[in-house]
């Protein structure tokens, strides 16, 4: 066990090694490791957030689909209602139109009856005159008896 200059040499080289390690080795490696650690934890955090967002988006999509379904149901119901309404209206219109046509036909029929009656009256008057002429065998003065005959005709 000879203690000699080697001791000093060893001390000096040790201190130089520490200095070098402190300046050029340790910080670089530790920084890289810490940066990686930060990246990994950021990545994990992001993944967590993405998962949350996906969940929210899915929920939202579900909500939208449900809403759309509800609206579609409402629309169909409305459309059905409207169709019924239209049918009812059409029925009503048709009935009204029918009534109107019937009424019109009635008035025409009435009118024609009236006209036929008028014609019949005048024809009857003529027939009466002709009959009277035949009965009397003589010419009846038409101008004298016309007024009387018209009176009879109007009484018919």
């Amino acid at each position: 066990m000879n203690i000699n200059l080697t001791l000093l040499g060893q001390m000096i080289s040790f201190l130089i090694f520490i200095g070098f390690c402190m300046k050029y080795v340790w910080p670089y490696i530790i920084n890289a490791m810490e940066e990686r650690q930060a990246r990994i934890s950021a990545g994990l955090r992001d993944a967590e957030r993405a998962k949350q967002e996906l969940k929210q988006a899915q929920q939202k999509a579900h909500e939208i689909v449900a809403e759309a379904k509800e609206q579609a149901g409402k629309r169909i119901e409305q459309a059905n209602k409207r169709a019924e309404q239209v049918i009812d209206e059409a029925k009503l219109k048709a009935r009204e139109e029918g009534e109107r046509l019937k009424a019109q036909a009635q008035t025409e029929i009435d009118q024609q009856i009236q006209e036929a009656k008028q014609e019949l009256k005048s024809k009857v008057a003529t027939l009466v005159v002709m009959g009277a002429e035949k009965i009397l065998e003589k010419q009846v003065d038409k101008s004298v008896h016309d007024r009387m005959l018209t009176g009879i005709a109007s009484d018919l």
Binding site: M1, N2, I3, N4, L5, T6, L7, L8, G9, Q10, M11, S13, F14, L15, F17, I18, F20, C21, M22, Y24, V25, W26, Y28, I29, I30, N31, A32, M33, E35, R36, R39
Partner: protein, 273 residues
């Protein structure tokens, strides 16, 4: 082996002798040619093998880690970066657990100690005769390849740690705080001399025990490898393989203990009791 058929003590002694370059008592500098000559040089000598191997391994550590540090990326790390990061994270965790002060020096120091000591200890697994034999082919007759079996190396580390510890103690607690810690406990101000002796011994014991623990463990391991190398060759596998496997544990454990105690001492320097 230097000579052809050395006796057992010669063989062991030869293996435990460093390659010494120093000042001869008669004057002049040069390599020592025997253990006695090396001893006669006293303090003014350098263990060239210890310094050489430890510097080489230290540079290997710094080169390796620096090359990774330069291209360290936060993205997916590849091969070697993974290994380096594993060590760095392990050291970082140990420092975070054991050191509660704010000091940017402690973690890099712990990393340096751990990896450097680990590398130096690992030299113990190189067959004991391989490198000395290669060296002797090159004309170098003494070669001790495990720097941590040289107390100069381990005490050099522990004394450096001790000096840093005192510097930070003075910085954090001030001179008054540091001296107070040494003299005013555990028995209060009426027993200052007694306190001082107690605390002083405790203080001085730290670097010595730190350095000698590592030295002792590795020296013993190396010695056993040398002993095994003296066995007949058919017995060597039987003994050196289990011992090497067991020694892997010692290598890592001693590096870890050295690092952990350094962290603890640094923590003591930063915290008042």
């Amino acid at each position: 082996m230097a000579s052809d058929n050395p006796s057992v003590p010669e063989y062991i002694g030869h293996h435990l002798q460093n390659l010494v370059y120093g000042k001869f008592p008669e004057g002049g500098w040069g390599f020592a040619h025997s253990a006695a000559e090396a001893k006669s040089m006293g303090f003014w000598a350098i263990h060239v093998d210890t310094i050489g191997w430890s510097l080489g391994l230290g540079f290997l550590f710094l080169f390796l880690f620096r090359s990774i540090a330069k291209r360290a990326v936060a993205r997916e790390p590849s091969g070697l970066q993974n290994a380096v990061e594993m060590i760095v994270e392990f050291v970082d965790q140990s420092v975070k657990d054991g050191f509660h002060g704010a000091n940017r020096l402690v973690a890099p120091m712990a990393l340096t100690i751990f990896v450097w000591v680990l590398l130096m200890n690992t030299m113990d697994l190189v067959p004991v005769d391989l490198i000395p034999w290669l060296a002797s082919q090159l004309g170098i007759h003494y070669m001790k390849v495990v720097p941590t079996t040289d107390p100069n190396a381990t005490l050099g580390l522990s004394i450096s740690v001790f000096i840093l510890m005192i510097i930070f103690s003075l910085k954090v607690k001030g001179v008054g705080g540091f001296v107070g810690e040494l003299t005013l406990q555990p028995f209060g101000k009426w027993l200052i001399p007694f306190n001082f002796i107690l605390e002083g011994v405790g203080l001085i014991a730290k670097p010595i025990s730190l350095g000698l623990r590592l030295y002792g463990n590795l020296f013993a391991g190396e010695l056993i490898f040398i002993m095994i190398a003296l066995m007949p060759f058919y017995l060597q596998f039987l003994l050196s393989v289990p011992w090497a496997i067991f020694h892997i544990l010692v290598i890592v454990l001693q590096a870890y203990i050295f690092m952990m105690l350094t962290i603890v001492y640094m923590n003591m320097a930063h915290e008042a009791h």
